[in-house]
Amino acid sequence: MIEGWVFMFSALIALVSALAMVVSKHAVHAALYLVATQIALAVLFLLQGAFFIAALQVIVYAGAIMVLFVFVIMLLGVDQKEALLEPLEFQRPLAIGLGLVLIAEALYLGTYDLARGLAARADVRPLAGEGNVESIARILFTRWAFPFEVTSVLLVVAVVGVMVLARRRA
């Protein structure tokens, strides 16, 4: 019962903040609404027992990534006005129409009984009496160990690339 209320409350916050992010005029407001959406999603992860992912969501997404966004907004100046005049006048109605088509497709797939038949195929299961973090660690460092190491290469490439891009040519 209380689980249903928590779900409703978090889902409402996530949806309203996401809509507010899309329509807000200032970039800083948009960033704030995105943080609200992400924290609501972290609550939904907790509700589904994904404790590790919920912690990562708060620390990495709502923490590190959004701080970077706000930092860049402040660096570029917060008084950037968005041009209200749309050069292609058919683009906005077309975008909303295509969005409605997308949501119809996604709702059809989401409510379709897709995953039920796959239930027997989840071959990587948590062991009995094992917590969420323990089972993720066991599988990440055994079956997914090589992709995990490759992500470190990706992060190094990203750091070097950013230093090359953002360097001032003096």
């Binding site: 996401a18 899309v22 590790f52 570029l76 239930a119």
Partner: protein
């Protein structure tokens, strides 16, 4: 117990809001935030499918999505800062030329 379908419907709604946001906004930073919203919506459906199937693989996929998103945000924001230095504008309509 909440039906799995509700989570999937919420994920679909959030993904669509993000996609429409990318299409209708002109400010590149807000467009970038909409992409992050789409990634978050997909993460929610990963975790939901994981719970439906009783496994942990989906949560590991979410972990990799987080790592790739972090790298993508860093590089993307550096590109935005680089464009802003040359154009003094964060408007997507201004970026109509590859070079000049």
């Amino acid at each position: 117990m909440i039906p799995d379908t509700w989570y999937l419907v919420l994920s679909a709604l959030l993904f669509t809001i993000g996609a429409v946001g990318v299409l209708i906004r002109r400010n590149v930073i807000v467009m970038f935030m909409c992409i992050e919203l789409m990634l978050n919506a997909v993460n929610l459906s990963f975790v939901t499918f994981d719970r439906m199937l009783g496994g942990v693989d989906g949560q590991i996929s979410v972990f990799f999505v987080l790592v790739v998103a972090a790298a993508e945000v860093v590089v993307g924001l550096a590109i935005i800062v680089g464009i802003f230095r040359r154009r003094a504008s964060a408007d997507a309509d201004q970026m109509s030329m590859l070079k000049w």
